[in-house]
């Protein structure tokens, strides 16, 4: 394809857009609405995930060893556990550290009376998981080690979090599929209307010997432009709304902000902006491509 015809297609695409302002605005509004709802949902979702993750990171398994196990063996076990994929990090707490913490937490100045470490055998490993759903697997792995005396863990916390994650996954997949289906339907409808208006033009092009590519190019460019505009608008709106909502929640529920942390807008947008752009451009491209297709069989 020549450069001049590329410019021609681009020029025609823009002209079409301006010529069919009503149709173009309708399409842009449709994409904007869908992507806006999607963006809001996505923002809530990533924050929810973030909260769940924060809680997850606090979930730990504590491993105590048989009396007489030397520090070297324990550290070796630490390395073995760390290598497992579901493990985020492992902390080794020596008997001294455990005693120090205990003293500070519970005894205060009464600790003076102890000359020996009564928690001699309580050196342990504190394991933080990256994937709570694998907790049971990890526990059985640790229990199988010969030096293991006891493993402390809570199945309730792990199960709740796993359940929450699963619900998030199902809801988000369902919601995204629904929104996508709705927007593709609406957009192919609006673009079809726009193309029906220009059926004559497509017909003439075909009679004169235009290739399918040439006929399609201006419409696809038009669709792409609509898609880009339709995704930039919700990006801007969500940017402002997100900050406003955060400010409101923080000032209205100050206690909440001490328990959970929200993601800053920049973190959310690192994923959201490319996602919305791809969706907008994709919807515009697919919508226009499909709509011109049926008019090409002349």
């Amino acid at each position: 394809m020549r450069i001049s015809s590329l410019f021609y297609a681009l020029g025609q695409g823009i002209k079409n857009l301006l010529r069919n302002r009503v149709f173009a605005l309708a399409s842009i509004a449709t994409i904007t609405t869908c992507l806006f709802v999607f963006g809001l949902f996505f923002s809530v979702l990533v924050n929810f995930r973030h909260i769940v993750q924060t809680v997850e990171e606090g979930v730990s398994i504590t491993v105590f060893f048989e009396p007489g196990t030397d520090e070297e063996t324990m550290l070796q076990r630490k390395v073995e556990i760390e290598e497992r994929p579901e493990v985020n990090k492992v902390e080794y707490i020596s008997a001294e550290q455990a005693w120090e913490t205990f003293k500070v937490d519970y005894l205060g100045e009464y600790a003076e009376g102890f000359t020996e470490n009564p928690l001699e055998d309580s050196a342990n490993l504190e394991i933080y998981l990256s994937d709570v759903s694998k907790q049971a697997e990890l526990v059985s792995f640790i229990e199988a080690m010969e030096e293991t005396r006891e493993v402390n863990y809570s199945t309730v916390t792990a199960d709740t979090l796993t359940g929450a994650n699963r619900i998030i996954a199902y809801v988000s997949v369902g919601f995204i599929a629904l929104l996508f289906a709705v927007s593709v339907f609406l957009i192919s409808n609006t673009i079809s209307t726009g193309i029906a208006v220009r059926k004559e033009e497509i017909n003439i092009m075909k009679y004169v010997g235009a290739t399918d590519f040439f006929v399609r190019a201006p419409f696809v460019i038009e669709g792409l432009l609509i898609g880009v505009i339709g995704s930039v608008i919700p990006i801007v709106i969500i940017y402002f709304i997100y900050n406003k909502v955060l400010e409101y929640v923080m000032s209205r529920f100050p206690t909440l902000s001490s328990i959970i942390t929200f993601l800053p807008v920049t973190t959310v947008f690192q994923q959201l902006v490319p996602l919305l752009l791809i969706l907008g451009v994709g919807i515009g491209f697919i919508g226009s491509f499909i709509s011109v297709r049926k008019h090409l069989r002349v």
């Binding site: 020549r2 010529r19 004169v208 010997g209 235009a210 290739t211 399918d212 002349v298």
Partner: protein
């Protein structure tokens, strides 16, 4: 869709060859019922008949807008029964088409309507700026290039449509009721233009029911009735095939899109190119 290679023999000098062509639509009686037809390079042919006689179907088959239910069609060496979809654009670039309802783009001026046809075939902007005014002068609309179709009379609109059909220098011009919406004066002007185009070597096929014009023009007349050819009369006597002459300038068939055309050209050994243009005023 059925695709098979045609095995018919194409007589020398033929640009359009139809053999036993049938066309039926989904319901109703068949539109074409065993048509066989030869049209030679440089001929001027009228196709007449009542409405429903199948003449429009014939044109649409020649454009490869429709495919025959049965039979073979060969136009300019292209086997239209087996042609691939992707090759149709290349084939159509050899044809010019004019319709009864002009089919101009209302939102563009005369110049853009004609230039449109050149852009579609990826002509360079430089050539478009040269070719479009030339062809508009040929049809007598040089001074109206800025007007929109709505500002023109019916006759003028049809001349724009004709300019659009001719600007790509087609080997065959197909006209489907070109004077159907015009008064006698304008009709006659259009016919004179078509005759000039034909004198330049372009094969012209005109579908019409304007008996008056057919009688005056004294050309070959194919009369159709109920999907069959009722008569095929050559009132002027068969002409020798006229060599194709480029209507505008030196031919430039180096462009690959004209590769097919060049082959057909080669079969007319006596082809003579006249400088200037066949439509220029003497």
């Amino acid at each position: 869709m059925r695709k098979r290679k045609s095995t018919i023999e194409i007589p020398e000098g033929n640009v359009i060859t139809m053999r036993n062509v049938h066309k039926s639509y989904e319901q109703g009686t068949p539109a074409l019922n065993g048509i066989s037809l030869d049209i030679q390079q440089g001929e001027f042919v009228f196709i007449v008949g009542d409405s429903g006689s199948g003449k429009s179907t014939l044109i649409r088959l020649l454009l490869r807008e429709l495919t025959p239910t049965e039979g073979d069609i060969n136009v300019l060496g292209y086997d239209l029964t087996s042609i691939r979809h992707s090759r149709i654009p290349k084939f159509r670039r050899n044809l010019g088409v004019v319709f009864q309802d002009f089919r101009l783009l209302e939102d563009r001026n005369v110049y853009d309507n004609v230039a449109f046809a050149q852009r579609v075939v990826l002509e360079s902007t430089r050539n478009i700026r040269k070719n479009v005014p030339e062809i508009l002068a040929t049809v007598g609309l040089a001074d109206k290039y800025k007007n929109t179709p709505a500002q023109l009379s019916g006759g003028e609109q049809q001349r724009v449509a004709l300019a659009r059909a001719l600007v790509n220098r087609p080997l065959i011009l197909l006209a489907d009721e070109p004077t159907g919406n015009l008064d006698p004066t304008n009709s006659w002007e259009i016919m004179k233009l078509l005759e000039k185009v034909n004198e330049g070597g372009t094969t012209v096929v005109v579908v019409t029911h304007n008996q008056d014009i057919v009688d005056k023009m004294q050309k070959r007349v194919i009369t159709m009735k109920r999907g069959e050819i009722e008569s095929d009369e050559d009132e002027a006597g068969y002409m020798e095939p006229v060599p194709y002459m480029d209507p505008m300038e030196e031919p430039e068939y180096d462009d690959q899109s004209f590769g097919e055309t060049a082959e057909i050209e080669a079969s007319f050994e006596e082809a003579v190119y006249v400088e200037g243009g066949y439509l220029d005023e003497d």
